[in-house]
């Protein structure tokens, strides 16, 4: 018994052919990150769009990576579900940049919610990582590597991710008090706990009575809307350069996956990962 | 399976086969806990015994050392979900190993000879008491302070014939911890029982010998214990001895550990004892917890008179292990070090000086723990309960 190659249809095959013959590719979604290259020789490629399958009962959705998140959200809302990524750009873009939103403090972060990725490699071949189940340790965790890989390891064409049921109540609260964080530590696992420009924001979710009871434990907090996020906050991992052996491993990975520096040269150069 | 070897043929194949190598026993083994090495673990020992028995491995000095360092605390046995009867595996192995090296074990043999010959034990105890006054007995010998002249245990009021029990006085317990016998008798009297002293004719129970692998001697001693016509229940206040005597008397007498017996009268004890608002840590002797399955009983008993603080180490052995602390001092001390660290950790998690006593229901543990650097009073639960009588 051997696994057969997956077939995602003509659009993906066309992309594969283009990638195989191209020398320099810039992968784009909606360019919400603003890091797209403006070199004219670069071929700009975008993953196909569209929902492949959505099974609310399995808490799982598969989409082409070029699908815009708000489109996905329309489907999800109809089934009273959601995904962890905030609502802008494409799924592929969010995965490639590890755009998590504010959930960093919580274990339900983006890397833990992506279950499978299908990728076109530099030679135009297709490879898959992960599987369509919620728990999987079959082989090395390429999915973790791909989440936040900034297109340096191939073009992600398909993503399967977990969905979660909408909580009964979702309430943001905030406080600018210096001791606000201590207050927050009295709570039981707020969905989000974050500090933005000196203001502590908390997201409380769950059963109505529980949320009310948790809020009653807080002093000096006010109800509020979800805070808006600056891009800087989102893309931290672009801002530092790795050192020593960590750098060698990063370069080794890039070299293994993209030996001729095809994908996203500009970002690779910024990161000193050209090989 | 390969050709059989000249070793360990007495070990039952089925007992070896129940071990599935899962490793769930590892953390319950004190010697694995302090070394982290498979060779000092139950799983490792079972594997080695099996291989030697099957002739796949020589009986090398490392194998012998692995088996010698087994305390036989039986911590692994209740922890094993497969129900491996580890005592069935290790006992014949210990016996065989000792038979094969008569001369090396001479000091151990001598020690065990003494305990099973009461007049000699008493004579030595008197000599020790003199040396103790002269402060010439090193702490590591683990001998508690003993008086030169021992008090008599006789002449306790004979309350009733229906409510009569026999107190098994034993060897070391009688020579060194006679105060615990007295406290036991006081408590039993308070509960309305007449106490008959087993006395010297019962002598030593042979548990130490059996534990150390001197099966023949143990059998001889056990054979010499008179089966008295008095069929009253036999009460034993040393956990190691109660475990052994339950086997010796299984056809003729009911044998109960004192904790078990007192637990049957817990409602009466609630009336007899006062609460002292002091904290006590319970150190559970292996022969009580792992071998006899008596654990919560002690907690509840002491809970009448004290605030009980539990150790969180699954009843890991303290390292005493009968004569183990003499034959394997290095391993025993390491194991004891871990126990004391756990006691210290638990005390400090409450607050320093918060705990007044450590209780242990076995003379071996009492003396082994007392001979360490630990700075806290260590007492038999019976003594603590007796002190709490209204």
């Amino acid at each position: 018994m051997f696994k057969n190659a997956v077939n995602f249809g003509g659009a993906v095959e066309d992309l594969q052919k283009k990638i195989a013959i191209s020398n320099s590719i810039n992968i784009v979604g909606t360019n919400s990150t603003g890091v797209a290259s403006n070199e004219s020789e670069d071929e700009k490629l975008k993953a196909p769009a569209g929902i492949i399958s959505y099974e609310p009962d399995e808490l799982m959705i598969s989409v082409f990576a070029g699908t815009e998140i708000h489109e996905v959200n329309i489907e999800l809302q109809a089934a009273q579900q959601r995904i962890v990524i905030p609502d802008w750009g494409t799924i592929g873009g969010a995965v490639a940049t590890r755009r998590n939103g504010l959930r960093e403090t919580h274990h339900q972060t983006l890397p833990n919610n992506v279950l499978r990725c299908t990728v076109i490699a530099a030679d135009g071949s297709l490879y898959q990582a992960g599987g369509q189940v919620v728990k999987n340790v079959s082989g090395f965790d390429l999915v973790k590597l791909l989440v936040g890989s900034w297109g340096l390891l191939g073009l992600i064409v398909e993503v399967t991710m977990r969905t979660e049921p909408l909580p009964q109540v979702s309430q943001w609260v905030k406080s600018a008090h210096p001791q606000a964080r201590e207050q927050a530590s009295k709570l039981y696992r707020p969905a989000v706990e974050t500090l933005i420009e000196g203001v502590t924001y908390l997201l409380l979710e769950g059963h109505q009575n529980d949320v009310e009871q948790q809020i009653s434990l807080l002093k000096g907090f006010a109800l509020c809307e979800m805070p808006s996020l600056s891009h800087q906050y989102q893309y931290q991992n672009l801002n530092f350069l790795s050192q020593g052996p960590v750098r060698s491993i990063e370069r080794g990975i890039r070299k293994q996956f993209d030996p001729t520096n095809k994908f996203n040269k500009k970002i690779a150069a910024q990161r000193n990962l050209l090989t | 399976m390969s050709i059989s070897s000249p070793h360990f043929q007495f070990v039952n194949e089925e007992d070896l086969n129940t071990c599935v190598n899962c490793g769930l026993c590892l953390p319950h083994c004190p010697t694995y806990r302090v070394t982290g090495e498979d060779i000092y673990s139950p799983r490792g020992r079972i594997n080695l015994i099996r291989s030697v028995k099957h002739g796949d491995m020589e009986l090398t000095k490392e194998v012998v050392n692995s088996l010698d360092t087994c305390i036989q605390c039986m911590g692994c046995e209740p922890a094993c979900p497969s129900g491996v009867q580890y005592h069935n595996i290790i006992s014949p192995v210990k016996t065989e190993i000792h038979q094969r090296r008569y001369w090396r074990d001479i000091p151990l043999r001598f020690g065990l000879y003494v305990v099973s010959h009461l007049p000699l034990l008493r004579l030595l105890t008197r000599i020790i008491s003199v040396f103790q006054v002269l402060k010439a007995v090193p702490k590591r010998l683990q001998i508690p302070r003993v008086p030169f002249r021992r008090q008599q245990l006789l002449n306790y009021p004979h309350l009733s014939r229906e409510k009569e029990v026999i107190l098994f006085t034993g060897c070391v317990m009688d020579a060194w911890y006679r105060n615990v016998h007295e406290d036991t008798i006081t408590l039993l009297n308070a509960l309305g029982y007449s106490v008959v002293i087993s006395g010297d004719e019962y002598g030593c129970c042979g548990a130490l010998h059996e534990h150390a692998g001197f099966t023949k001697t143990a059998e001889k001693i056990q054979g010499n214990i008179p089966r008295s016509t008095d069929n009253a229940t036999i009460i034993v206040n040393s956990a190691g001895c109660s475990a052994s005597l339950k086997k010796t008397f299984k056809d003729s007498h009911e044998v109960l550990d004192i904790n078990e017996f007192l637990y049957r009268h817990i409602s009466d004890l609630h009336k007899l004892l006062i609460h002292r608002k002091e904290k006590v840590i319970i150190q559970e002797p292996c022969h009580l917890r792992h071998v006899q399955g008596i654990s919560l009983e002690v907690t509840e008993l002491l809970g009448i008179a004290f605030d009980v603080v539990q150790l969180d180490d699954d009843g890991l052995c303290c390292g005493a292990g009968g004569s183990f602390s003499f034959s394997q001092p290095e391993m025993a001390n390491a194991v004891r070090g871990r126990k004391i660290a756990e006691i210290t950790r638990v005390i400090e998690s409450i607050s320093p000086d918060s705990v007044r006593y450590v209780s242990s229901a076995n003379p071996g543990c009492l003396s082994f723990l007392s001979s360490s650097a630990i700075n806290i009073e260590i007492q038999h639960p019976v003594t603590l309960l007796k002190q709490s009588l209204r």
Partner: protein, 457 residues
């Protein structure tokens, strides 16, 4: 003592085994106590051109810790200190040999615990959990080990030391290292995330008249939008074996027993357990008990978590796969598993993480019976095949190790495997860290050379 390499036959023999049925023959075993000592050991192995392999408690079930012939076993059990606990950040730095359950024990004073709770948690090491990305009953709501590791200090196969965390690299090397089964280097210190102990817990034990009903109830609970903290199933034979050992009051007349636990704040627990009760009764629950006390709860979990061991009460050997299937296929795949076992005349028992769809069909046998191993392997392979055909994956938590690597081709294409090998090469270009595991033999995918003698598959 700890710096030395032990080479006596007894220790080598023991270092050649783990919780699987396989056996290897290493060249030596050492017990480093510091990162520097691990580094020395790795450098020594490099200089001699011999492979090395990290070992924790040796409870792995897929042979991940079975050493390649002639390799150096680096056993980390003596590196067992908790270096620091930061209750405010809810994190701790631990050495790899710390036992999983000990960590939670030590942090319980702060009201915190380490969420991954493999059934072997009393014995297995955090290093082993990291290497295998281990799961456990409560990983249904909490996520597996990977979700609870913040940073890793690693001795690389080159002998260099480095740290992987969220801030020092673009690629998530921390995430890539977790689950690498000792093939990317040795974790020598681990920063774990700690989570708050739940204020309210309800543990329910539900009996069903058939495994099929139980499996349908599982899918229904999740489909209903309830994510319990744990959702486990045991079939009748294993329930009986376990009950004999723990006396937790499991329903002995039920064909399948579900353990459903829900935790969190008061009303979510009350409301959740009420809904669960309604759903299971719709699916024909024959009994429903709620554990009243912490002691009862502990007993139920002890029963569940020692279930593998209890098997020896029935047959001396067991073999299991841990495939994961989509929840909606549970009932179907379970009946296929029964049919496969019947076909091969083997006894099978099921005790598994139903909420994740993570099966553990345990084939029981006595290896002394002639020809039985062939039947066991045939049945095992069939179970893998039907699971994959149902859209599942090869392993949910035990890892691939040595035992399942040749099934990898059933799940991945040659190209998929090639990219896994590329990742491995970036960490370990010479292939000396636990070689020949995970990736199948042959083609460009695996390390070249021999397999440990005595191993099967």
């Amino acid at each position: 003592m700890s710096g030395a390499v032990h080479i006596n036959t007894a220790e080598l023999f023991l270092a050649g085994q783990d919780g699987s049925n396989m056996m290897g023959s290493p060249l030596g075993v050492c017990y480093p106590t510091t990162t520097a000592e691990v580094q020395n050991a790795v450098r020594w192995a490099r200089s001699k051109g011999v492979p090395f392999i990290a070992r924790g408690a040796g409870t792995g079930l897929a042979g991940g810790a079975i050493p390649e012939a002639g390799s150096l076993v680096i056993c980390l059990t003596k590196m067992n200190k908790i270096r620091s606990i930061d209750a405010n950040r809810r994190s701790a730095w631990v050495e790899p040999g710390v036992l999983n359950a000990d960590l939670s024990r030590q942090t319980s004073r702060e009201g915190l615990h380490f969420a991954p709770d493999p059934s072997s948690q009393q014995s297995c090491t955090i290093g082993g959990n990291v290497a295998n990305n281990s799961g456990g009953p409560h990983c249904l709501s909490e996520g597996v080990t990977s979700a609870h590791i913040l940073s890793l200090e690693v001795v690389l196969p080159s002998g260099e030391t480095c740290t992987f965390d969220a801030e020092t690299s673009l690629f998530d090397l921390r995430g890539a290292f977790i689950g690498s089964e000792g093939m990317f280097g040795i974790a020598t210190a681990i920063e774990v995330r700690l989570v708050q102990n739940p204020p309210h817990v309800a543990t329910m034990v539900v009996g069903f008249a058939s495994v099929h009903d139980g499996a349908l109830a599982v899918s229904a609970i999740i489909a209903h939008g309830i994510i319990p903290s744990a959702l486990e199933m045991m079939d009748a034979p294993i329930t009986r074996a376990v009950e004999e050992y723990v006396h937790a009051g499991f329903p002995l007349d039920a064909a399948a027993t579900l353990i459903v636990e829900i935790d969190g704040l008061e009303y979510s627990v009350i409301d959740g357990s009420r809904q669960i009760r309604e759903i299971v009764s719709l699916f024909g629950a024959t009994s429903f008990q709620v554990a009243e006390t912490a002691v009862e709860r502990a007993r139920i979990w002890k029963g569940r978590k020692t279930a593998f061991g209890a098997i020896a009460r029935i047959q001396p050997n067991y073999y299991l796969h841990d495939t994961v299937v989509p929840r909606k296929k549970l009932a179907e795949v379970l009946s296929q598993v029964t049919a496969i076992a019947t076909q091969e005349q083997l006894q099978v028992m099921n005790v598994f993480h139903a909420g994740d769809g993570n099966l553990h069909p345990i084939l029981m046998f006595d290896k002394r019976v002639a020809g039985v191993m062939d039947r066991v392997h045939r049945a095992g392979a069939e179970i893998v095949r039907v699971s994959l055909e149902a859209g599942g994956v090869l392993s949910g938590e035990h890892g691939i190790g040595l035992e399942k690597r040749d099934f990898m081709r059933w799940m991945f294409t040659e190209n998929d495997l090639l990219f896994q090998q590329k990742l491995r090469s970036a960490f370990d270009p010479d292939g000396i860290s636990n070689p020949h595991k995970v990736l199948p033999r042959g083609s460009g995918c695996s390390d070249t050379a021999s397999i440990p003698p005595g191993s099967w598959i």
